[in-house]
């Protein structure tokens, strides 16, 4: 698309080439606007889901929100490839999942017991008495402690399987493994969890 001055003769138009706005500049501007709108739409649609995924691993609201922002900044950086992505939801969850795991690995120095107890308080417990709420919080803390003891492969599959909207195929897409691997890891994770919980109950 070229913007030319109206009312010029042909020769004038030829010699006035410096007045033209280059095609590439206009195309770049239009493409930038389209990409910005596409990223904004992704934020509106998937920010909540990404936050929940991030929170399930990090168990801290501020860290989870940071992870979501970083994920969308990465999307903005690679917005050229947005059109090539087949399933935006799985793609975004995969991005935030990698960010979250990286942050979790780097923040290993912080004691996780604090996070677990705080999370147990955060979990909903409406309609319960104070005593029941305390028991529920203790139970949640115990479960989360057992989850943290699982091997990483089994723990990741178990955490992602808790999201109702993720099928096993989508979990496989997020983790980059096959669907049969997801199933076998989930089976192992449930076995291990049962053993860990029974062991914890026997100790009480």
């Amino acid at each position: 698309m070229c913007l030319r001055l109206v009312g010029m003769s042909t020769s004038q138009a030829i010699y006035a080439g410096w007045m033209e706005i280059p095609d590439s500049a206009v195309a770049d501007q239009a493409r930038n606007q389209a990409e910005e709108a596409a990223v904004a739409a992704l934020v509106d649609q998937y920010a909540g889901a990404l936050y929940r995924v991030a929170f399930s691993v990090l168990r801290n609201p501020a860290d989870a929100e940071d992870a979501v922002q970083e994920a969308f900044l990465r999307v903005l950086r690679h917005r050229d490839t947005l059109s090539e992505v087949r399933d935006h939801r799985v793609w975004l969850i995969r991005i935030v999942w990698n960010i979250v795991l990286d942050r979790k690995r780097r923040a290993k120095t912080r004691p996780e017991t604090d996070d677990v107890e705080e999370l147990a308080r955060v979990l909903p417990s409406s309609g319960l008495s104070a005593e029941q709420m305390a028991a529920a919080a203790q139970h949640h803390a115990q479960v989360l402690a057992c989850v943290d003891q699982l091997p990483s492969k089994e723990r990741e599959v178990l955490q992602l399987s808790a999201f109702e909207e993720l099928s096993s195929v989508e979990i496989a897409g997020v983790l980059g493994i096959t669907e049969s691997s997801v199933r076998s890891r989930l089976f192992r994770a449930r076995n291990l969890m049962a053993g860990l919980l029974n062991h914890a109950r026997s100790l009480r």
Binding site: A47, R52, F55, V143, L197
Partner: protein, 173 residues
């Protein structure tokens, strides 16, 4: 994925997965999208001010002064000379006449167990056969009179008629 329907394990696991599902179902904080939009807007503006990298490998500097143009020309000429010299060297080596070589055909090896051509004589021995030292004796199958009348010339003509010329036939006409 519905964990309840796929859970083949004991009573402890549903509790655990219920806890994980509670965590997964926690709502996102209010205004999360707005804060993300704001962060993206700031990043987008800063990205606009900096030109986007387009995977350019080499950024050739534009010539600001013509003072070093002769150096560039000399460097280009040197590169061209080196390339041309190398090419000529390769070409001249390749163009040298190769000595003629006679390559003998490998001996044929007959298949084991098959028929061989060892000792086969392709030329009949009759061509270089034995030379007769005595003339062969005339056959005595006919009468003596007939044998006496017959001249040696006629006998020879009779025996090899194709060797005689056309008009020199000994027989009466």
């Amino acid at each position: 994925m519905n964990p309840q329907s796929q859970n083949p394990i004991g009573p402890g696991t549903p509790d655990a997965e219920a806890t994980l599902r509670l965590i997964a179902a926690l709502p996102a904080p209010q205004g999360l999208e707005d804060r993300v939009h704001a962060a993206l807007g700031a990043a987008f503006e800063s990205g606009r001010q900096q030109p986007r990298a387009r995977g350019r490998v080499l950024a050739w500097r534009t010539p600001h002064s013509s003072g070093n143009s002769w150096m560039r020309t000399a460097a280009a000429a040197a590169i061209a000379l080196v390339v041309a010299g190398g090419g000529w060297g390769v070409y001249s080596r390749v163009q040298q006449p190769l000595p003629d070589r006679i390559t003998g055909a490998p001996a044929r090896i007959s298949a084991p167990g098959g028929f061989g051509s060892d000792g086969a004589i392709r030329t009949p021995q009759t061509l270089t056969g034995p030379v007769l030292t005595h003339p062969p004796e005339a056959k005595k199958t006919g009468t003596k009179a007939a044998a006496g009348k017959a001249t040696p010339h006629a006998a020879h003509a009779h025996s090899t008629p194709e060797l005689l010329p056309q008009g020199a036939h000994a027989g009466p006409k």
